[in-house]
Amino acid sequence: MSIKREGLDTTHGAILYLEEITVSFDGFRALNKLSLDISVGELRCIIGPNGAGKTTMMDVITGKTRPDTGTAFFGQTMDLTSMAEHQIAHAGIGRKFQRPTVFEQHTVFDNLELAMTMDKRVRPTLFSRLTSEQEGKIEAILRLIRLHGEEDRLAGLLSHGQKQWLEIGMLLMQEPQLILLDEPVAGMSDAETARTAELLNELRGKHSIMVVEHDMGFVTEIAQQGIVTVLHEGSVLAQGRMDQVQADERVIDVYLGR
């Protein structure tokens, strides 16, 4: 049932390939022949105006939405368009939603425990006991996401920024190969945004990361010399370093209006 992550084939250096993906809702083309690929270990920022198709693209990658045409491959061999959400998660793609979605009625610790990589079928779950090694792992993530000391609080009582970090922590517990972050700093204070940028910079190179974000300051902070992709009306408008993209006429048109 579950797919072994060892099966991920990245021999050609890319972890994710999207090719000619089209998704229509009632005639509206949310994605229009979108093609994109992400390299192993890359931190890729995706920007674009509202309705550019950023969230739909994430829905396609995580199996929530099926494309009308086109292919989505994880590594060389895994066809994401034929897998269910939980299978994709097992294969090693973790997703953070736009609005923080954590289990509000559970403690911070329990949230991380639920997310931890292990056999997630019914019987092993019923008899599951944490080993001290697994507890150590949760401990390490708690420090990384700056929630150490808060592990016994209900997640619903955390501040907005803390919930976002908890959700990122839950992703990390799954040891994903590819992390998708949908607007990770939306609604955060400046201090929290800076801390989140720090966190992502710590993760750089350890995971392949795709960040969708509106906040230009934040994108500049984390993109550094990496590639930034601009989406517009469901396809790629421009691609390049942040300074190149910002100087691009078409991008200025789309963002500022003609």
Binding site: H86, F103, H106, L114, V122, S159, Q162
Partner: protein, 380 residues
């Protein structure tokens, strides 16, 4: 190692032990002291509490799916009734030739001019086979029904409505004489169980004590399940199913597990009910009965396991009193109770008790203060 909370808090263990002991004493007092003695408990009282315990077990079963996994069933009456019918088949066979028509067939079959038992009645003269049916029939029904409903991602009110439709359909099926379960009269006039007279006080006391033991056992087992990691996954289904899928769980099998378990527990409650009450008929499957079960859970406190037991006793106790004192007013009282609970006691009786408990209150205040502090810190 990180300490997990114990199964029940110390006061809760003591309360459960005291309640179980007192409940266990009732049939003994009934047997030991003659009628008229100050310590005598009437057979009526023992029968009533025995019946309530069956309802409490059904409410506990419903709480497992509704309180923890957030799946509201408005059709649990069908599982209760199927358990009762499965046991009832044995009890009908055990009448032997002591029926009105003195046939080897139950009276209702004689009445229909049937000469032999239909195939699905074969082997039902064996008590243990019928007990197996009590577990298997509702279990398989719940599994198949749940598989298709959950696989199609039917949730919330839509799921509730089809469970309601299911129990209604079964009620109509069992009302038909040709179905072979006694039509609208159902099964009654039982004589004996495993060779013992079913009306003897000793038999009644035994059935009562078995019910009590199963109820306590189910409470402890249920608590173990909801406190396990699986229990936390179920609450994840209730609170954010999408998140659960994206961290790698397939909710289908978790829902099916708890749904089937709940159906089987409810069926056991029905199987314990039928010999103590002495009758089972299709009206047990009427939608209103299933809704009443939901009210027991809501009144007692959803998602607590102990609450539904309290709720079943409270509502049914009130019902017994009301239907004797003001028979016409009971349904109004039930409706009013449900409205009051929904408006003012969303966590039921148990939630109310926690609010009044000074320690519980302080805990709430501390949590609120912490939230306020965070908010202020953020704003600064």
């Amino acid at each position: 190692m990180r300490a997990r909370p114990s199964l029940f808090s110390r006061p809760a263990w003591i309360a459960i032990a005291v309640c179980a002991l007192v409940a266990g004493l009732l049939p003994v007092l009934n047997l030991v002291f003659p009628a008229g003695h100050a310590l005598h408990i009437s057979s009526y009282m023992v029968g009533l509490v025995g019946k309530f315990m069956c309802f409490a077990l059904a409410a506990l079963a419903l709480d497992l799916v509704w309180g923890y996994a957030g799946i509201l069933s408005l059709g649990h009456g069908v599982f209760f009734a199927l358990g009762a019918y499965a046991h009832g088949m044995y009890l009908m066979r055990a009448i032997g030739r002591d029926g009105v028509y003195q046939s080897h067939l139950p009276d209702f079959m004689v009445f229909l001019d049937w000469k032999t038992y239909p195939w699905y009645w074969s082997m039902t003269d064996n008590f243990f086979y019928c007990m197996l049916l009590v577990l298997l029939v509702p279990g398989v029904l719940a599994f198949v029904f749940g598989y298709f409903a959950f696989r199609s991602r039917i949730k919330g009110v839509y799921f509730s409505i089809i469970t309601q439709a299911m129990t209604y359909a079964f009620m109509l099926l069992f009302f038909r004489n040709d179905t072979g379960f006694g039509g609208n009269n159902g099964f009654t006039d039982f004589k004996r169980i495993l060779g013992f007279s079913i009306t003897a006080p000793e038999t009644k006391a035994t059935l009562y004590l078995v019910t009590l033991a199963i109820l306590v056992g189910a409470l402890v087992a249920g608590r173990m399940i909801v406190q396990s990691k699986l229990g936390r996954v179920l609450q994840g289904v209730r609170d954010s199913e999408a998140r659960l899928m994206f961290i790698g769980y397939d909710p289908l099998w978790f829902k099916l597990f708890v749904w089937t378990l709940s159906a089987v527990l409810c069926s056991i409650a029905g199987a314990l009910y039928v010999p103590q009450v002495g009758i089972i008929n299709p009206s047990e499957m009427s939608p209103a009965n299933s809704i009443e079960m939901v009210i027991w859970v809501a009144v007692g406190g959803r998602g607590t396991l102990i609450g539904p037991i309290l709720g079943a006793f409270t509502v049914n106790g009130l019902k017994s009193w009301f239907t004797a004192a003001f028979p016409d007013l009971w349904l109004f009282a039930l409706g009013l109770l449900f409205i009051l609970v929904t408006l003012f006691m969303q966590k039921g009786i148990l939630g109310l008790a926690r609010q009044i408990d000074p320690r519980g209150k302080r805990r709430v205040v501390v949590e609120e203060a912490a939230t306020v502090k965070e908010t202020v810190k953020e704003a600064a």
